[in-house]
Amino acid sequence: MSDTTLARSAAAKPAFSLGRLLLEGRAFFALIAIVAVFSFLSPNYFTVSNFLIMASHVAIYGILAVGMLLVILNGGIDLSVGSILALSGVVAGALMQGVELPALGVILYPPVWAVVVLTCTLGALVGAVNGVLIAWFKVPAFVATLGVMYVARGVALLMTNGLTYNNLSGRPELGNTGFDWLGFNRLAGIPISVLVLSGIAILAGLMLSRSAFGRWLYASGGNERAADLSGVPVKRVKITVYTLSGILSAVAGLVLSSQLTSAGPTAGTTYELTAIAAVVIGGAALTGGRGTVRGTMLGAFVIGFLSDGLVIIGVSSYWQTVFTGAVIVLAVLMNSIQYGKGTRKS
């Protein structure tokens, strides 16, 4: 028997094929094509400063998309990320205005780091609500996060009465300045938001490829019953991914309001769809269990570079919508080609 075992491992190198390479690296080639086309159409596109600006736009979607990837790998979906983003921005804005405690007759001005921590905690809590609803109460992910999407948006609107906080700069005499650091500062010439995205992407990538949790996530997304019987804590994994997605939404909310120097309750509307699109373009399967951070990052850059490029060459925003839609459909089409071929019945 043992002669057949592993006997073919040496010969199993797949034959090189251009079609296969193009299919598997599709997001990468799409990105190169986009950069090439727009560089040809506009002289302003292929410049370092433009790339950095575009990258800082991508950062928002990218951060959301990493959270979305985790959820989609688990076989779920998170529609609430745009609303959590807005709620976090508004809460951060409110904290920057100072918190009045009438009982004590004082107004607290938390320092910026405390604002960041509190906002991320809020994001984690809302995400955990999603996770508990889905894992323990067996609410379908689509429905649970749809509900939370409305509730979070509604709370953000209620908190501000529909208005926007325009002053987030804090006051030097109170020592709570520096909120604009996230959105405007650069380290070694690179926008902080891009560095934040890189950090998150690297951490998430390591988690998925090298940690036990990553393995649990891929397994429970691929076949939850089998994972459960193999000792994977499937409920804990589920709650964790929604919580992480909530935290990342809050981070995106902070970065966005810092970039805009304002925090409004309607920020981030439909961003959840952009995040889903980035994940799908990056080759992840909506049925769970398949997908990588690298792919998702490429997906986010494809969407970001495409829409910014269309703005630069002066195409109407209506056309941008059409193009984005076409790219998504194309991406899903290729996903089904790739995954449809690889599997078989028995």
């Binding site: 028997m1 057949t4 075992t5 491992s9 034959a15 649990w216 019953r225 000792g231 599997t343 019945k345």
Partner: protein, 519 residues
């Protein structure tokens, strides 16, 4: 390659044989560098049963899928009634009268039995689908198969064996003239196999041609008219029924004779490793009876206990409750002196209690992961240090498992779906053995594995038992009980109906299970 055609006569020149209705001529199929079939000739004779034997991964399913249009050959041709044909898909083949029962179930779990049987061929009445007629035909099929399955039950509520019956009923409902059965009986009990054989004889007498694949060799011998042996993608032997016996099959399949052995001896049994006390489990689907009824059982370290029973005896539920997947309504489970009823599945695995589940597609494998990742899934903790998994340690564990349970694969990175059915089953077994358990429970683990691999698994279990592993082996094959168990427990309707030692006869075991003893 020593074994060439054993019988010199080419099938179609032998006057005793019926005419050839469907044939494969020099059919080859490759997946990249994996050559699943290397030029095979295969004939199906009118009104007769051709059985196909071969090791796991020999190419049986691949050949059958080609003949039924599911996949297309890389080269070679298919000849139907003397004319070359090519099927683009299985519907085209079905329209020409060829249908197939797949090795892996291909049912829609959320749909009812009726809807599954008529999926894609709904009977249309004056106002849409004629559900009443479908239901009537469905009942008739079930009566023919002597099964009490309601046509309106969702398939996901059925036991694995019942799902297999539905799969068979679906193929029968087509009225095809060539019926291919790829391991149709792997989850059926002896009585049900008898019924199926009756149905098959009935079909052949009406001129229907059958291809039958099974790793239950004795069983297949009962029904066969011709035997064909495939080995590593080539046909190595052919003979009509009169010229073959069990030994011939095994010799041609694997080249040597395998003995399933006898229960491991010569070691003293240790203390009680697993103890089940008055365990009661309510029906998981909410019916108001208990699938396991105040059952008590002790298994000692080093002991191999077989649980025999018919489908629905409560064996699977018992094992799943002990493993922590189902909740008991009463009683306790004690592992090496400690009550574990409150522990999660993961904690039970960590304490050395492992379950090899029955249904490999639903409960055993993560289809999106590779062979290696599946094998290491239950032992992640053993190769994780701090935050990260250690690749070298994982690779060592995977390689050891592949060797231990003899998985035939192009390597640990291969997709799990690229393995043959039996090799997928070996992965499920290997995965749980890799957790280094103190007590292992196996639920019908021999489903679909070939005789060599079964001997290998039995040897492995026997060796581990000598080192103190307690083994609980659930099976519906009496022969398996006798070749591995120190003690045989028969379950019937959620209770233990009899207990035997290894010297008992097959008939006694079967009688205790409530089974009518076939001649």
């Amino acid at each position: 390659m020593s074994a060439q055609f054993q019988s010199g006569a080419r099938p179609q020149t032998d006057p005793r044989l019926g005419e050839v209705v469907l044939a494969a001529r020099n059919v080859a199929k490759s997946y990249g560098n994996v050559h699943a079939l290397k030029g095979v000739n295969f004939d199906i004779h009118r009104g007769q049963v051709t059985t196909l034997f071969g090791e796991n991964g020999a190419g049986k399913s691949t050949l059958m899928k080609i003949l039924s249009g599911v996949i297309q050959p890389t080269s070679g041709e298919i000849v139907l009634d003397g004319l070359p044909v090519s099927f683009g898909n299985s519907t085209e083949a079905r329209d020409r009268g060829i249908s197939i029962i797949h090795q892996e179930l291909s049912l829609a779990p959320n749909l009812s039995v009726r809807d599954n049987i008529f999926m894609g061929r709904e009977i249309m009445g004056a106002s849409g689908v004629d559900f009443a007629e479908e239901e009537r035909q469905c009942r008739k099929l079930m009566a023919e198969l002597e099964e009490e399955i309601d046509p309106l039950t969702p398939v996901e509520d059925l036991r694995l064996g019942q799902q297999q019956i539905v799969e068979i009923a679906r193929a029968l409902s087509v009225d095809s003239r060539i019926l291919i059965m790829d391991e149709p009986t792997s989850a059926l009990s002896a009585t049900e196999v008898e019924v199926l054989f009756k149905v098959i004889r009935d079909l052949t007498s009406k001129g229907v041609s059958i291809v039958y694949i099974s790793h239950h060799l004795e069983e297949a011998l009962q029904i066969t008219d011709h035997a064909v042996v495939l080995r590593d993608g080539t046909m190595t032997a052919y003979a009509p029924r009169a010229e073959i016996d069990l030994e011939w099959i095994v010799r041609n399949m694997v080249g040597e004779n395998y003995d399933l052995g006898s229960p491991p001896e010569g070691h003293a049994l240790g203390a009680v490793a697993l103890s089940v006390r008055d365990l009661t489990v309510p029906d998981p689907k909410g019916a108001d009876y208990n699938v396991v009824d105040r059952l008590s059982l002790d298994i000692r370290a080093g002991e191999v206990v077989c649980i025999y029973g018919l489908m629905g005896a409560g064996r699977t539920e018992l094992l799943e409750t002990v493993a922590g997947r189902l909740r008991a309504s009463g009683g306790e489970v004690v592992l090496e002196g400690r009550e574990i009823s409150h522990l999660s599945i993961a904690e039970r695995i960590a304490r050395g209690l492992a379950l090899v589940p029955e249904d490999r597609q639903r409960d055993g494998l993560v289809q999106t992961m590779s062979v290696g990742e599946n094998l290491s899934l239950a032992s992640i903790a053993s190769f994780t240090r701090g935050l990260f998994t250690r690749r070298k340690a994982e690779r060592a564990l995977i390689d050891a498992s592949i060797r231990e349970v003899t998985v035939k694969t192009s390597g640990p990175a291969a997709a799990i779906g690229s393995l043959s059915g039996g090799n997928q089953q070996k992965v499920v077994i290997g995965k749980m053995l890799a957790t280094k358990p103190r007590v292992i429970m196996l639920d019908e683990p021999s489903r679909g594995i070939d005789i060599g691999a079964k001997a290998e698994v039995f040897k492995l279990l026997a060796e581990e038992a000598k080192r103190g592993l307690a083994v609980v082996y659930s099976t519906s094959e009496v022969g398996e009980c006798l070749s591995i168990a120190h003690r045989i427990i028969v379950m019937h309707k959620g209770r233990i109906s009899a207990e035997f030692d290894s010297t008992v006869s097959k008939e006694k075991i079967m009688a205790a299970s409530g089974e009518s003893v076939a001649a």
